[in-house]
Symmetry: C2
Subunit: 309 residues, 2 copies
């Protein structure tokens, strides 16, 4: 534990919802105290580029470049390349901004040279003056696949973006070797607090939790989670529809907590979403859209976490 | 020979100078009569992308997208990705426009899937409504290298763009296997007329001429060339400085003709650049910047070529 009393904090995060809490934690904690383990299950190839949607959302959010009104890309970016692709009849279902493209180009070239995703992420962050540690959950691919009731298998981004999350989700598959990067295991094994961000448990957090050695690390460390469901609705994305499809239960903060089984030591939910549990369930404002609300909430979370030890 | 009397015409071309004559020939000839063999010795990798400067200049020129005032890229293109790369400290020495980027992305992805450069070039052309046949000289890499007096070897684009063509050229090397694509050999072997465009003989035409089987095809067919030197100055690029460095002679239309040795059956030069030769040397306006001048000149060239047979 460092002198501020917070110790080393590791946040597990997906895209927008996770990035907003990470932004608050980042500003509430002293430099060097926070490491973020980011889901890479959404990574995919498009236009021959390696795209890591959650890494980019986290990086752009910490760089202060994220738009307030959407969960991806760079504020004020232009879309001239995309318009050109459309004019030429090329794939245009994934929105790539002209400035955003530079991230994917630099990442793809570095990976092709044999650089690890961890190293190229660090370099991309430095290029945007982000000196916080964002760790891809794995240096090897772990693609999330959506299985539909008719047995069709869709790559996650194709299901989410191209199919607009319409096909019913019967099951999920997390592909690849399932190895966490050594940096991730080291961060988790030396953490004083692990925060599960308000991200989708099925497609953002489970891809991390199911990596070898991750769940065991969480069982040894205080874990605080923040609900991605507020009053039955998801912070962002398709979660509210996935919960009934995958668990047979109504979407609720409680359903998410029970999905995490015995991992949680405390749980933040929105006012009115509380329930009885063998750990503290704290009702408070967890809407983190505005930057100022993020740091206020992060301080509240860290203060409670201090009392857990 | 087809009904118009021109027969099958094949043009050998590099970038700007070649593209302007090709544009004139394209509009002077009936559909299907022209095929263009394009230099790919300038091709290089940048930002992980396969860039083919001469193929792109030819394609954009035939699509009517080339700027009047520069030899590369798309008229009215923006440079937001390039600006972003510069801000992040990434390589920014090669000018890539946002719309132009789509060409390189599509080409790189297609090559990575195993498509040939010939096939992807045809597809890119179709996407820009260019139904003319642009043939890369080879489907395998043939990189031109500049050798300087101190023995340093520079990739062509690095010498031209990054070093601004400043280092003295002592010699040139054309790398790779030196095989013309089968489409190129078929086009040359069935041509009724071969046109050597006003391109740089050392770095645009020789990479084609030195491919296996190409010179032999030219020796069997009427060849008309257009001088890339006008009054001692190059149409474009570093040629006027290269001629004395590589041949020890002053830059002139005649020096270029003699470089081609016994290949020429007729030669177009600018008024005042004429000389005695064992083939017709025609003095006429060969400034092809304006689109209307290109087709006027192309008709003149084709008319003379008709008289050679």
């Amino acid at each position: 534990m460092n002198t501020t009393g917070h110790g080393a904090v590791v946040a597990l995060a997906g895209g927008v919802g996770g990035a907003r809490l990470v932004d608050g934690l980042d500003r509430a904690l002293p430099p060097g105290a926070l490491q973020v383990v980011a889901n890479t299950g959404d990574d995919f190839q498009h236009w021959g580029l390696h795209i890591s949607p959650d890494l980019d959302t986290l990086m752009y959010t910490l760089a202060g470049l994220s738009p307030e009104d959407r969960g991806w890309g760079i504020e004020g970016d232009t879309f001239h390349a995309l318009g050109e692709a459309r004019r030429r009849g090329l794939d245009d279902w994934f929105q790539l901004g002209d400035r955003d493209l530079v991230t994917h180009l630099a990442r793809t070239a570095a990976l092709a040279r044999g650089e690890s995703l961890t190293d190229v992420t660090r370099r991309l962050c430095r290029g945007l003056d982000v000196d916080r540690v964002i760790l891809p959950m794995s240096d090897t691919p772990r693609p999330t696949t959506i299985v539909t009731p008719d047995g069709a298998e869709l790559a996650f981004q194709q299901w989410l973006v191209r199919e607009r999350a319409a096909p019913t989700v019967k099951a999920l598959r997390y592909g690849g070797a399932g190895k966490a990067s050594p940096h991730v295991l080291a961060a988790l094994n030396t953490a004083d607090l692990i925060v599960i961000c308000p991200s989708n448990p099925y497609v953002s957090i489970d891809p991390i939790l199911t990596l070898e050695g991750v769940r065991a690390a969480l069982e040894e460390t205080p874990v605080v989670a923040v609900s991605p469901i507020l009053g039955g609705r998801a912070v962002k994305g398709p979660l509210a529809a996935m919960i009934p499809q995958l668990s047979g239960r109504a979407a609720s903060a409680k359903a998410v907590a029970e999905h995490y089984e015995n991992l949680l030591d405390a749980y933040f939910v929105h006012p009115g979403d509380g329930f009885q549990a063998p750990f503290p369930v704290i009702e408070t404002n967890i809407v983190l859209q505005a930057r100022e609300d993020r740091v206020v909430f992060a301080r509240k979370l860290l203060s409670l976490a201090g009392s857990l030890r």
